[in-house]
């Protein structure tokens, strides 16, 4: 039915389309509240961000006094040294967090797939980090990493692996990996839940057929389970990547981007430019660039999701 209407929609021209919209006017009432909220909180801000990125706005955000500066804000960003530093931090942060969180989460899902005593308890424990607030997580790990009284440092000293507690988040070389460990701690459960849900959809018949065909455990995973989960995996990885690319709380609370920008990523940097130094124009220009990058992600995201849609339609 959807296929048919879709077909007529594309070949109809404007007038039939308008008539169709009119015929379906009651249907729109259902989605109107959602769309209205989205418009206010998304479409309007996007427009505004683009506009602000071409102006210099006074620190107090007096909009009447803004001055048009063309693309100055953009050139300022691209020529600044910190831009490249922040970009490489963001890439390392996003790729490492996404990849490791996905692998750990997927592995947990597989290990928890078979029923055994205590499975429910284990699953619950593993999910907790995802549920608690990132602010709480940041403080917990800040305390664990503490340079004088942190437990990891103390353990290392206790076992003679270090002379004195190492500086995890006060040192330029270790801060980013240390924060990534925290981020993964909070995120792998999400991958685990998604993949657990996905695993439940793998048809038993296929696995049994593969067994009959003589496939061993690894071959069954590689030839049956994994291909079946391709769609879920894509969506999960994309969601993780986007969430990581957009993370803010962990670096902001644990280090504020320091020491000497070693843990600044795009979002924390934009936030500091805007609300720390009141450089609204540059911050907005950054946001627009970020927005363009995210649109790229978005393209793949929609493609992955609509892949799902097509399957639903044909099934």
């Amino acid at each position: 039915m959807t296929i048919l209407t879709g077909k007529t929609g594309t070949r109809g021209g404007l007038r039939p389309l308008l008539r169709k919209i009119w015929e379906h006017r009651a249907d729109y009432a259902y989605v109107l509240p959602a769309i209205a909220v989205m418009l206010i909180v998304i479409a309007y801000p996007i427009y505004y961000t683009v506009e602000l990125s071409f102006f210099n706005t006074p620190p107090g955000l007096q909009l009447r006094d803004k001055i048009f500066v063309g693309v100055d804000n953009y050139t300022a960003i691209l020529s600044s040294e910190i831009f490249w530093k922040v970009t490489s931090n963001t890439l390392i942060w996003t790729l490492a967090s996404t990849f490791i969180a996905f692998v750990l989460g997927f592995a947990c899902a597989l290990a928890l797939h078979r029923d055994f005593v205590g499975r429910g308890v284990l699953r619950a424990i593993l999910i907790i980090p995802w549920v608690i607030s990132a602010v709480a997580a940041s403080y917990i790990w800040k305390w664990i990493y503490h340079s004088d009284f942190g437990i990891i440092g103390a353990v290392l000293v206790q076992f003679g692996l270090a002379d004195r507690p190492p500086n995890f988040i006060d040192s330029v070389s270790t801060v980013l990996p240390s924060l990534i460990v925290v981020n993964i701690w909070r995120e792998f459960p999400f991958a685990m839940i998604m993949m657990m849900a996905g695993l439940q959809t793998v048809p038993d018949q296929l696995l049994r057929a593969a067994k009959v065909d003589g496939a061993n455990a690894w071959q069954r995973f590689w030839h049956v389970t994994f291909p079946h989960l391709r769609n879920v995996s894509t969506v999960t990885i994309l969601l993780l990547a986007v969430a990581n690319f957009n993370s803010f709380i962990i670096p902001w609370i644990m280090t504020g981007g320091g020491p000497s920008n070693a843990s600044h990523i795009w979002i924390t940097h934009i936030y500091e430019l805007a609300f720390g130094r009141q450089r609204w124009g540059v911050a907005s220009a950054y946001s627009v660039l970020l927005f363009l990058i995210l649109m790229m992600f978005g393209y793949f995201y929609v493609r992955a999701l609509s892949g799902n849609e097509r399957k639903d339609g044909s099934a």
């Binding site: 039915m1 048919l4 209407t5 077909k7 007529t8």
Partner: protein, 365 residues
């Protein structure tokens, strides 16, 4: 109870016509089957009558009211669905009570009617169960009960038996038929299974491609299919259809096959062919109207046995005649080997002739 009239009913989706000017009348108390292959428009037609989808044009009359724009709830109909559509969160009792609650009947009356329906359908002990705790047959019975309890003007049934296993289907078939006889109910019954239609319905409406092909009693449809589609759709195994060439030799009209044999026609059949506008004629014959011979006899045509399927009391032989497969039934005593040369004799009284171009049945007068 009431009669139902469909007049020039049309349903289009964009440029696709799902139902095409269908007109038919269902008399008060009549059991009518809408039958056809999947996608023929039969379920769409039923949904139009139910009011679940809006009609594009035409009229639907139930009782004495035109119901074109009425909500389903105001049409005084009940419907039984293929997947039963029992409310999974409600007990059997609540499923049966739901239509009555919606009509704001007093509580004691609801209880009385539900108990009565449960008694009639012999499921009093199931009332507190949830649908998922029931077998397929029991679910089907509850669905029937939910329709029954309302005492509607018309029952609509959308393939109600196709989710049941073969044995249960035969049993439920007779139960529904019984139900119709006891209640004198008006029933419109959609099925893709021609056997259900033939065995249960007073009249059957055969549909294909959105068009109504033939609307008549099962016996008439079986004996006098109006076109090749109906001929091949009704009856099992299907009627064999052999495309042949008509010609005149010595003043007699004969049909010629690819193997150069010719079959002389009876005067009545010859008249039919003479009236046709084309020389392409399709011969149709049901398996029981064909005789199998081991040697050529007058009036028989040569054929080559292809497969032999013994079923116990009867053996089916598929044979090639002029490039087409013909199904013949023979007593099990007659042994036929694959690839054996045989001769087939068609019963001229019960043979069907179709126009090879329009696919319509040829008439003698």
């Amino acid at each position: 109870m009431a009669h139902v009239v469909l007049k020039d009913l049309v349903k289009t989706y964009g440029s696709f016509k799902a139902v095409n000017e269908v007109s038919l009348t269902v008399n008060d108390g009549e059991f009518v089957a809408l039958v056809g292959p999947s996608g023929c428009g039969k379920t769409t037609t039923l949904n139009l009558v139910a009011g679940l989808i809006p009609i594009t044009s035409g009229d639907i009359v139930i009782g004495d009211r035109v119901v074109n724009d009425l909500d389903p709830k105001d049409r005084d109909i009940a419907m039984v669905f293929q997947n039963y559509a029992l409310y999974p969160q409600k007990s059997v009792y609540k499923n049966l009570a739901f239509p009555l609650q919606m009509r704001k009947l007093p509580k004691d009356e609801i209880e009385r009617k539900v108990k009565e329906a449960a008694r009639v359908l012999d499921m009093t002990e199931l009332l507190e169960r949830k649908p998922r705790e029931l077998s397929g047959g029991q679910q089907q019975r509850v669905a029937l009960g939910r329709a029954l309890v309302r005492d509607p003007a018309v029952f609509l049934m959308d393939e109600p038996l196709s989710n049941l296993d073969a044995k249960l289907r035969v049993q439920m078939r007779s139960e529904i038929k019984r139900f119709h006889q006891d209640l004198k109910a008006t029933i419109i019954y959609v099925t893709h299974d021609q056997l259900e239609a033939v065995t249960m319905a007073d009249r059957m409406a055969v549909m294909n491609g959105g068009y109504l092909q033939q609307y008549d009693s099962p016996a008439q449809v079986f004996a006098h299919p109006v076109n090749m589609f109906v001929a091949s759709f009704i009856g099992s195994p299907a009627m064999s259809l052999v495309p042949l060439e008509a010609s005149t030799t010595n003043g007699n009209i004969v049909l010629t096959g690819a193997e150069r044999w010719s079959l002389e026609l009876s005067p009545r059949n010859a008249r039919k062919v003479a009236r046709a506008a084309t020389r392409k004629v399709v011969l149709g014959a049901r398996h029981s109207t064909i005789k199998l011979h081991k040697s050529a006899v007058p009036g028989s045509v040569p054929a080559k046995a292809y497969t032999v399927e013994p079923t116990g009391d009867i053996t089916f032989v598929q044979a090639f005649v002029s490039g087409a497969i013909v199904n013949v039934s023979v007593p099990p005593a007659i042994a036929v080997a694959p690839d054996e040369q045989i001769w087939l004799e068609f019963d001229q009284e019960r043979m069907h002739l179709f126009d090879g171009e329009t696919e319509m049945a040829l008439e003698a007068d």
